[in-house]
C-alpha cells in the first residue's frame, strides 16, 4: 500500500510565522496535491504538482506556495501565517488520472 506521511498531526503557530507542511510518499506517484478541509466547505485544492519542479495553482492558492524538489516530497509553505489559515491540511497522491487518491492523515494547523 502507498503510504503518504505528513510530518505533523497537530501544529500551533503564531500569526506572521513562516510555516512548512511536509508531505512524503513512498511510491512513484506522479501527482501530489495539497488540500485544506473546512467544515461545510469540503476539500478545496490549494496547489498540485504532476512532476518534479512542476506546480500549478488550485482553487485557493492565495497565501500559500509549494515546493517539489524531489518526486516523493511535496511541501506546502505559508509565507506569513494568518488566523484564517487555521484548518486541516491534507496531502494526497495519485498514480495518474482515474486512479484513486491516497491521502495523508492530515495536519491540523491552528494559527493564533
Amino acid at each position: 500500500d502507498v503510504k503518504v506521511t505528513q510530518s505533523s498531526r497537530y501544529l500551533v503557530k503564531r500569526t506572521g510565522e513562516k510555516v512548512f507542511l511536509e508531505c512524503v510518499q513512498d511510491m512513484d506517484h506522479e501527482n501530489m496535491f495539497w488540500y485544506r478541509q473546512d467544515p461545510g466547505l469540503g476539500l478545496r485544492l490549494i496547489y498540485f504538482s504532476y512532476d518534479v519542479k512542476m506546480k500549478e495553482k488550485g482553487d485557493i492558492p492565495e497565501g500559500y506556495s509549494v515546493s517539489r524538489e524531489k518526486k516523493e516530497r511535496f511541501s506546502l509553505i505559508l509565507e506569513s501565517a494568518s488566523t484564517n489559515q487555521t484548518s486541516m491540511y491534507l496531502c494526497a497522491t495519485q498514480l495518474g488520472v482515474r486512479y484513486g487518491y491516497t491521502f495523508g492523515s492530515g495536519t491540523r494547523l491552528t494559527v493564533v
Binding site: 501527482n31 476539500l43 488550485g58 488520472v97 482515474r98 484513486g100 487518491y101 492530515g106
Partner: protein, 112 residues
C-alpha cells in the same frame, strides 16, 4: 470494506443533452458525500452533501443524496463541451481524513 461505486464508467453525449451520473456507497459511519470534477490533472470540488443538506444546485449542475438508498446522482443539464471531464464521487466517514473514499469516476465526453 468501505467502497464507492460510480456508474457509468464512461459516457459520450452531444451538446445540449442532459446527463445523470450515479454514485453508490457502502461506508461505516457516513458523514458526507462529495462530487469533484477532474480535468487534466487535479479534481476541483463541486458539491458536498450531508444529512442536513441532501440537495445542492449550481447553475446547470445539481446533485441529490439518497441516504436510504446509499446513493447520489449528479445531473448536468444542457451539456457543453467544457463539461467534458472525469466526475469523481467521494464519501467521507466519521473518523477523519483517512476515511475519504473515492470512486473511480465517470468519464464524460460532450461532443459538439
Amino acid at each position: 470494506e468501505d467502497k464507492v461505486v460510480q456508474s457509468p464508467l464512461s459516457l459520450v453525449v452531444h451538446e445540449g443533452d442532459t446527463v445523470t451520473l450515479n454514485c453508490s456507497y457502502e461506508v461505516t459511519n457516513f458523514r458526507s458525500l462529495l462530487w469533484y470534477k477532474q480535468e487534466k490533472k487535479a479534481p476541483t470540488f463541486l458539491f458536498m452533501l450531508t444529512s442536513s443538506g441532501i440537495e445542492k444546485k449550481s447553475g446547470r449542475l445539481s446533485s441529490i443524496l439518497d441516504k436510504k438508498e446509499l446513493s447520489s446522482i449528479l445531473n448536468i443539464t444542457a451539456t457543453q463541451t467544457g463539461d467534458s471531464a472525469i466526475y469523481l464521487c467521494a464519501v467521507e466517514a466519521e473518523g477523519g481524513s483517512e476515511k475519504l473514499v473515492f470512486g473511480k469516476g465517470t468519464k464524460l465526453t460532450v461532443n459538439p
